[in-house]
Structures are given as C-alpha cells and as structure tokens.
C-alpha cells in the first residue's frame, strides 16, 4: 500500500523517494502510468494508487543531439547527446524516461526490447533541482 494521492503532481513526489507510481482501476483492472482519477478504458472513478516494481523493456527511443533548454542546462548537446525512450513496464503501462548507460554515440546498437530497470536522475539547479524518471539496462 502507498500513501500517495491520485492527483498528477504526486508522480514526482513519489519519484523524489525513488518510487514509480501509477493507478489501477478497481472496476476493470486497467493500469495507468502516471496515476489517473478516471479510468481511460471503462470511465470508472474508482482508482487506487499502485507502485510499480520498476522493471520493463524498451519500446521506442531516440538519441537527442538538439536538446530543449532544460536538457541543455543539464549539460546535453550535439557533443553529449542523450537517449530518451518509451518503456513498457512489466505491469503493462508505458512511461517516458531518460535511458542511461546505452551507447548514445552508436544509436544503432540500442535495441528495442532491451530489458531495463528503473532508476532516477537529478537535473536542475537550486530549488528546481529534482529527480526525474530514468531507466538503465537490467
């Protein structure tokens, strides 16, 4: 059991504690990540927060050489590209996450279907510094 709420900001509160949360529909069992108050499948508003165990596989990815400002500030760019991807959690839902410990200078070596485990990465400065979702090869 977790004490997190279903409201959307709780995702980062949980991540701050290295925990990845979502929700399960108490009526149809659909699992959402991040957590939702209304089931996107059966429309039920009876949802509970669940905690994922942080295992998944890589479903799609890219290696970004032209970063948005917040990633550029974190040190990424054409000479230091990063991988970001979509991860299918073993519970079934998908999440967006930075993918660490893959060869960003040889993107063709990164394989869809690679087993991954959850971690976090801290970015930002001062008060805006916080933990973001990341995965790395299992």
């Amino acid at each position: 059991m977790t004490s997190f709420q279903l409201t959307s900001k709780e995702f980062y509160t949980a991540l701050g504690q290295d925990r990845l949360i979502g929700s399960r529909c108490l009526d149809c069992g659909h699992i959402s990540a991040p957590q939702r108050q209304i089931c996107p499948t059966c429309h039920s508003d009876r949802q509970e927060v669940i905690e994922f165990d942080g295992k998944g596989t890589l479903a799609a990815f890219t290696v970004v050489s032209v970063p948005p400002t917040h990633m550029a500030v974190a040190g990424y760019g054409a000479k230091n590209p990063y991988c970001v991807g979509i991860v299918t959690l073993q519970e079934g839902a998908r999440v967006c996450a930075q993918i660490l410990d893959v060869d960003v200078h040889a993107p063709h070596t990164i394989r869809i279907g690679t087993p991954l485990v959850m971690t976090t990465i801290e970015r930002g400065e001062g008060e805006t510094r916080k933990k973001y979702l990341a995965f790395e090869p299992a």
Partner: protein, 421 residues
C-alpha cells in the same frame, strides 16, 4: 457509430496563401493580408468581403511566438472584417485543419453561408531554442517533456518502433525527403525551392570557394547519410527529416453548397470530414502508427462514401519524414508495413500510383504550424482546378485528401475534397 454527415453541403470557392519562409520584416497580420488578397483574386466571380459572416483562424501560439494573444479579431480587423465573429482555433499543428472543420460545421449547421478560414503562424521572430520550447508546449509538459522528449524526438521514437516492427530500411526516410524537395522546387510558395541535389551542389561550390576539401557525395542518399551534410537532430531523424521553422499565412473561403455558383462555376466540395483525439504517446496501444489518424480517416471516408482507392492524391502531415510513411498507411493507401517500400519505389511521387505532398509537403513548403492544415487545402484547390503549374498532376484529378496532425498524434483531422464537372 451513426453515420456522420453535414446537414448541408459546403464548398471551397477561393484559396490563397502567402509565401512560406522566414520574413523578419513582416508580422503575422501582414502575411495574412497577403494570403487574403490572393484568395480574393481566386474567387472566379468576385468576392465582396462584406459578405463574409464569420472568421475561423487556425493558429497554434501567437502568444508565445509573437507575444500576441487574441489574434483572430486583430487579423479580422486588418482585412476589414470587423464586426463579424472571429475566433482562434488551437489544436497544435492541427489548428488549421480543425479551423477548417469548425468553419465547415458552422456553414453545415445553417448558421452562416459564407465563412473565411485562416491559418497563420509567425515563428521565426524567436531564437530557435525558444521556438523549440514553444512547440514543446503542444506535448505533455508534465510527463513527456521533463523526460527529455522533443518533437523530433517523439517522431524519432515512433520511427524506431516502425523500423523495428516492419524490419524497414531507414533509407526510406531519405526517399521521402528527396521526393518532397523535388515537389517543393516546383512550388513558388515553398520555403525551400531547392532539390536535395541543388543543395548538395551549392554546398560543394561553397567548399570549393573557401578552399576546403570538396565533399564527394555520389548521390542524394550518400549526402543524406553523411552527418556533416545532414546532422543528427534526434536519431534516426536528421536535419533533412525535419520540417523547418516557418512564417506563413493562408486564407480559404467556404460557402454553402447551394450558393457556391454565385462565386464560381468550379467549386470544390468538401465531401468528407473526420477528426479524432488521443492521449500522449505512452497511452497508445501502438507506437508505429497514429491511431487518431486512422479514426479521422475512417470518419472522412465513411461520410464521403468512398475508400482510399478513390483518392487521386493527398497532402499529408509530413512534419518529419517518418510521419509521411505512417500517414500513407494510416489513411489506407498502403497496407501496414508497406508504406516504407512505397516511399522507396516511387509510388508516392507525382507520377506514382498514390501521389503524396505534390506541394512539397511541410518538409519543403514549410511548416508555419497553425497555417499548415489550411495550406494543404490550397494545394488540393490548385490540383483539382488544374492550376498547379509545373507540378500539376496529369489525368484531371477528381478527389484530393488532406491529413493534418497535432502534436505526436493527440489530434488528427482529415478532409476529402471533390471536383464535380
């Protein structure tokens, strides 16, 4: 689902656009004036602007790009249309297509007979980093963007899923870029009036002029595979896979079918219209196509009572090369997993069995985001009326389709147009 149809017919009787490109000396309203005047000149029997009853403007984010919100009444005033109702329609890069649909629905409802549709975006005033930030607000800024996604990144991720699922050749992406630049070179409104081969030649000439080693690309594919000529943006999307940052305005005049002959003897009828929405990329069952495009396409085909085989040509939302390949499958022109082969074998070229983006598409014509969906209609108008000049399709095309996507597929709107004579 019950069959959806207009309560009365809607026709296009005029269409014009500004040149697309980067225009530091002009603001969005100037670009719209240019488009409006061209549109007025295309109304065969003349247009008294006083007859226009409402104005729907597709615009993604003038508030971010120009620090000017509430754009529709300003633009309406600038072309002399006050006090008619004027509203801005926003669905990211699908803003223009959705504005067209809302205008058509307003006529179909019986409320208005004559409605102006605009599409407008002025993006190049901001530095590129801020343009990227502004565009990113069309994604989920709470969960997608913080992970590190960018717009090229979303389509790049879909490309990895597509290429993996169908064991497709990444070279297919280059073929889309080459083909759209070929078409854009024949369009005087296009931002890039150059074929890839022309771009290679000018890069070689520049190297020679500067006394640098002259690159030895033997053909376009070799150039596009060279990161020095075609740097990575978000792998596997390189620079020439991406549509540009653009300024541009478009104006299209819609009227009730029953009065269309007051304006022209050759109206273009809207026979199909469909629109759908979706969640973020992570919410979708598939990453190798765009479900909202399939849904919007099916609605439009059902309303028109025809299928993909009845479409002579299409303008699809090629914001990135992979998007065109997925679109040709989502719209049913090719079976799943066959779109990349069709792109490689020339089936989507002007002389192919399914000509796609004869205008040059977003890739070569330019992508002023809120204007793009309306800009597609200008190409359909020209092709169906036989006035597309050097890029005119042979055989008097009868039906054209437009496919306009917002975000990574959270919105898609599809229209089918028909010439009857």
């Amino acid at each position: 689902m019950a069959k959806q149809k207009f309560a009365r017919g809607v026709a296009v009787v005029g269409a014009g656009m500004s040149k697309f490109g980067a225009f530091p000396d002009r603001t969005s309203r100037d670009l719209f004036v240019e488009a409006f005047l061209e549109m007025k000149g295309t109304v065969d029997k003349g247009l008294d602007p006083g007859q226009i009853e409402a104005f729907y403007l597709g615009n993604f984010s003038s508030d971010q790009f120009e620090k000017q919100a509430h754009l529709a009444p300003i633009v309406a005033s600038w072309v002399g249309l006050s006090p008619i109702p004027a509203m801005r329609v926003e669905d990211a890069c699908a803003s223009g297509g959705v504005a067209l649909r809302e205008a058509a629905l307003a006529i179909a409802s019986g409320m208005y007979d004559v409605v102006l549709v605009g599409g407008l975006e002025k993006m190049t005033d901001l530095p590129i980093a801020e343009v990227t930030e502004a565009l990113a607000t069309a994604a989920d800024t709470q969960f997608e963007i913080p992970a590190g996604f960018t717009f090229p990144g979303f389509y790049a991720a879909m490309a990895t899923a597509y290429l993996d699922q169908y064991d497709a050749s990444p070279q297919a992406l280059a073929h889309v870029s080459i083909k759209n630049h070929e078409n854009g070179a024949l369009n005087d409104k296009a931002q890039f009036g150059q074929r890839i081969a022309d771009i290679m030649a000018s890069k070689k000439a520049r190297a020679e002029q500067k006394g640098l080693p002259v690159p030895e690309w033997k053909d376009e594919l070799e150039f596009l595979a060279d990161p020095k000529g075609n740097p990575n943006i978000a792998w596997p999307m390189s620079l020439f896979d991406c549509s540009p940052v653009s300024d541009g305005g478009v104006a299209v005049l819609l009227v009730a079918e029953e009065i269309a002959f007051r304006y022209t003897d050759s109206p273009i009828y809207i026979i199909g219209s469909g629109q759908a929405s979706d969640g973020a990329l992570t919410d979708r069952a598939t990453l190798s196509h765009i479900p909202a495009a399939v849904e919007a396409g099916q609605q439009a085909y059902q309303m028109a009572g025809i299928g993909p085989q009845d479409i002579d040509f299409a303008e699809v939302h090629d914001c990135f090369t992979i998007a065109e390949i997925m679109a040709t499958e989502d719209l049913g022109f090719f079976p799943r997993g066959e779109g990349w082969k069709a792109a490689m074998s020339g089936k989507t070229a002007r002389d192919g069995e399914h000509p796609i983006n004869t205008s040059g598409g977003l890739k070569a014509k330019g992508h002023p985001v809120g204007a793009s969906g309306v800009g597609q209609v200008v190409e359909v108008w020209k092709q169906l009326r036989g006035v597309a000049g050097e890029r005119q399709l042979p055989g008097n095309p009868r039906r054209g389709l437009t496919h306009n996507v917002g975000g990574s597929g959270q919105t898609c709107v599809v229209h089918i147009f028909e010439r009857r004579d």
